[in-house]
Structure formats: C-alpha cells, structure tokens
Symmetry: C2
Subunit: 332 residues, 2 copies
C-alpha cells in the first residue's frame, strides 16, 4: 500500500494536534488565524487529502446518496438522474449510482450494498421495488422511493390527468378514433396502470365506450410503436396516443416508412417529453414530466429525512401538455 500522508503527519509538521487539523478542515470550532494558515500551508505542501473511509467510520456520515435506477442512457431516467445529481451536489452530497438493467435482483443487491454504511440515504427509482421493500432492504438508512402514489413518497405526478390533457387536445382537433398504446408495467403502489385509466376515463366522460380495438399494450420501446401503429391505423385511428415518447417515436417511424404523413394523415402524441421528442421530425407533441421539480423535491425530501426532520405531506404535480408538430386537425 502507498504510504499516504495522514492527518498526524500534517499535525506534526505544523506543530499542532491532529484534532486541530481536523477542525481546520471541518471548520466547526474556532481556530486562531495563524494556526489556521500554517496548517493549510502544510496541508498544501504535503499534498494531504483526508482518507474517506476513516472519515466516515469515525463520523458516521458518508455525505453520499445511493440512487438505484434501471437505466441511464436513452430514456427519461437518465435526465432525471442527472438532475438529482445536480441537487445532491448542491447540498454537499455525492451520488452513488446503481444501474440495474431491469433486473430486480440487481436492485435488491444495490439497496443492500448501499445501506451497509455506504451512503447516508437511498433513492429507489426501480418500478418493481415497492416502498415497503425498499425500506426493508435499507433498514435504518433513510430511503425515498421515487414517484409513487404511496403516502410516504414526497412527490407524485398525476399521469392519469396527463393522458386526459393530451386526449382533450386531440379531441379538440376533431379526433374521435384515438389509438392508445398502453404499457403493462404497473408499479406496486397502484393496482392498475394510470395512463390507461386516464384513457378509459376520458372516453367515458365524453359519453363513449372506449373501443378495445384501439387499445394495445407495448413494452415502452420504439419497436412497440412501430409494430402497433399499423394495427391501430387499420382499426381506424386518426390519432395515436402513446404511453411514452419512445413508442410515439416508433409510430412516427412506421408512418415515415409507409408514406403516412404526420400530422396531416395521422396525429401522434407521446408522454414524458424526453429529449428525443425534440429530435424527431416532426417534433413530438407530448405530456411533460416536470423533471427538475421532481428531482429537486425528491432530493430535498431525502435530505430532510437524513436530518431527521418530519416529512411533509405528499405533493401532487400537475402535468403540462407540450404541443409541437406531430398533432393536427383530423383529415376531413
């Protein structure tokens, strides 16, 4: 092992005690200016850096937060993780990221690993891990599960009304036969998938029976949109609402490949407002996830929890519709 310079070395050279050096670094006890300066110079000249493990062992704090996510590239979760990272750093924390690749086993491992003194708090973003499971695995380490209907989650984002917002927009453009690409993943906190509920609710509210031929279930990926677009068109859809942007992009791709003009012959709407919504042509009308707010509130909630403050009541965020170029009046 490399003989690194330690706090006692600094103390010796500076002619003070280790605890003085420690306090110069932490700043939580008054130090005379001269001593402070001298210690800092010695630290500089010796190239001293505090040992992280020793520090956290002694102080019972790591200033680290563990985040478990299924993926980070090519999806809205990456944007979210980046935003959380930003807020964590603003509060002096570093992020330890566990990427699980949709394997629950990985997620559980990360939660266990993280909570054995590795971090001060955990953010669980894994859809298949419930609030209770996360809390159980993390034992005494403060844990926040991201975006669930469950009371203990600091923020919740109402996907049901998000879908309704988009459907109202399509309806106002004259669309009546609106295809819907649902998703099967239901999180453990809600019995049924919220976006599909929104779809069904909307049509009932409009005095219509939702047409089962216009409802298909995808896998959140581009391919689902591509595959189901044709089926929905054949079923008479003049517009397609997808449960996320990736599947909406798949629909656009199918349309392009089959000379179906968007939005003239087919309107397409997505959900999330992922970066890709702006990259495709035509740009995608979509329901926006307020990523920054979600990240901030989640991080803040965790930090309060770490500090032992009593949690605030759950906040419910209202979705916003972003109208771009993939939706238009129904063809007459």
């Amino acid at each position: 092992m490399n003989m690194r310079v330690k706090i006692s070395d600094v103390a010796k050279v500076a002619g003070v005690s280790s605890s003085t050096v420690s306090h110069v670094l932490s700043g939580n006890r008054p130090i005379s200016p001269e001593v402070c300066l001298r210690v800092r110079q010695v630290i500089e000249s010796l190239g001293y850096r505090p040992n992280y493990a020793a520090k956290s062992l002694a102080s019972h704090r790591t200033m680290k937060v563990g985040v478990v996510s299924d993926e980070i590239s090519n999806s809205i979760s990456g944007v979210l993780v980046e935003a959380m990272n930003r807020y964590l750093r603003e509060n002096g924390y570093s992020m330890l990221l566990g990427v699980c690749e949709f394997k629950k086993e990985n997620a559980i491992n990360y939660l266990r690993e993280f909570s054995s003194g590795m971090v001060d708090g955990v953010i669980n973003m894994i859809g298949s891990v419930s609030v209770q499971e996360a809390a159980r695995e993390c034992k005494t380490v403060p844990t926040i599960t991201y975006l669930r209907a469950h009371q203990e989650c600091p923020v919740y984002y109402d996907r049901t009304s998000g879908i309704i917002l988009a459907l109202e927009h399509l309806w106002s453009l004259g669309h009546r036969k609106i295809g819907f690409i649902a998703v099967s993943d239901t999180n453990p906190e809600t019995a049924v998938e919220e976006r599909e509920i929104g779809y069904r609710q909307f049509f009932v509210r409009m005095g219509m029976q939702p047409d089962e031929n216009l409802i298909v279930t995808g896998n959140n990926k581009i391919e689902s949109g591509y595959i189901y677009a044709e089926k929905l068109m054949k079923a008479g859809a003049t517009a397609i609402m997808a449960s996320n942007d990736m599947m909406a992009v798949g629909v656009l791709q199918w349309a392009h490949q089959n000379q179906v003009r968007v939005p003239d012959e087919l309107s397409v709407a997505g959900f999330d407002d992922a970066p890709i919504a702006l990259a495709v042509a035509p740009t995608l009308t979509t329901v926006q996830m307020p990523i920054d707010i979600l990240a901030e509130k989640t991080v803040n909630a965790l930090i309060s929890k770490i500090k032992g403050e009593t949690p605030r009541q759950q906040e419910v965020l209202v979705p916003r519709l972003i109208i771009r170029n993939s939706t238009g009046k129904v063809k007459s």
Copy 2:
C-alpha cells in the same frame, strides 16, 4: 446513531472470535463446516451486514471504481457508462459516477474526491482532462483515461479512418459535393480534430482540394445540424457528413421542415451510432463506435492496473460503417 449489529455481536452469539466471523465472510482461511454453518445462521438471524467504511479502512480496498463523465443522458456516453458498469460489476466492483456537466472544475473535484481513498481506481472520460492531469489529480490511485491517442490509454478508436469510411460510401453513391460539420473540441492528446483530418485527407486522396465552403464547425448538438444544413445545401452539397449523430439528426430535422427529401434529395451520415440513429426517420447511416469492446477493454485495463499488472500495449480499434436509410444515390 442506530445501534447496528456488528461483527463482535455475531461472534459473541456464535461463540467464536470476530476474526473467525470475518473469515467465514471472506472465505480466505479454512473454517470447520460446523462453525461456518453456525456463524452463517447467526448472521442471518441477527441481520448482520458488514460496515463498509470499517471494511475499507482496515483492508485498504473499496471494490469501487470512480467514473467521471460529462453527461449520461441523451448521448453516447450514457451507453458507454452503462456498459462499463456492467463489466465492472462482473468483476466485483461497483461504480461511483461523477457527472460533470462539461465543467472542468467539477471533473477535477471528482478526481480528487475519488482518489482520496474512495475508490480503488478511476476512469476519466472528460475530454478536456488530459492523461497527465488525471494522473496528477489521482496521485497514487490507478487511473485510466478513456480513448486517447496517448500511449498509456488501453484502447484507441481511429476516428480519422471512420470518417473516411463514410465518405467512401457517399462517394460510391456518386456524391462529390459533401458538406462536413466538424466539431471544435480537440482533446489534449491530439493537436487537431481527427474527424476533420479524415475529411480533408479523403478529398486530397481523391485528387481534389477540400472545399472550405463545405466545411462548418458545430457544437455536437442537434441545433448545429439544423443551423448548418441550409448553409451547406446552398453551397451545393448533395450529402452532409456530421461529426456525430446528434448533428446529423439536426440535419434531418431541417430537411423535414423544408421538404427536402432524405435520401432522395440529400444524403446524411452521422458518427457514433448512438441510439437515436435508429430512432429517427429515415434511420441514420453512421460510423459505429464499438461501445461494448471499448468499455470492456477500458475496464479490464483498469482492473489489471489495480492488480499491479504491467499494462499491455495500446490497441487500436477499427471503425465500422452502418448503412441505413439516410444515404442514397446522388440525384441526377
């Protein structure tokens, strides 16, 4: 602080010494089957989990690798980070990720933080941080800088010949006026941007002077493609080669908005083969980064370095052209 169960508690209940428990866990000393079983049962029933900080303080190992990257969402780096994460875990390491948001200051901070006993090794993916700088900040901690021409980097990927590959393809389709969107970011290890070199080299090889009106410099983002597409078309380009996929997507977007049909009226090629290359319509012809191989070789090199093995010689990977639907014969 929470009174967590520690190794001595397990030892007491199991009627053995702490060191025996430790060895049951690590497996690096023979233990009698009965003792082993008893200890494991006690561990289970007490819900014991080793304290991470104490472990690394005593063992001088963290089994963690720090990765510094500018971004993770919406770019090829996220895919790469995910791939590295996979290989690291296969080797028993966890990843500590530092997202720097293109601020060099953040990068330096992460490198310093990581190398103060927080990780066993560091992977530097920040373009503006040179091999030397990274090594300096990380002191005695083994460090690998990702994808540089520099000798000490385990893999290198020849972008110059990658561009030439794509240009040969366009040339064979009859294109002679090929616009090029370069990028200004040059990494500290190479004096000039390699992709631009490739472009210039190609035309010289074809016995032509590269036309300066057909060369513009973008910022790696979609908007650059969008902005420069028009300029390059006006300069007579029948095809546009972009230095990355995002800018190529910007060109597609401009084309779509201006009723320029791709590839009938304009061919477009990108670089990287980011996920978005498959999401757009038409799908993008591009030069593929061998992400998985790059990730594996980089991770393996770091792990060897951690183990103190002598580094192997740098490996140079050959790019591959992926022909999709955004390139076609020049219009006659």
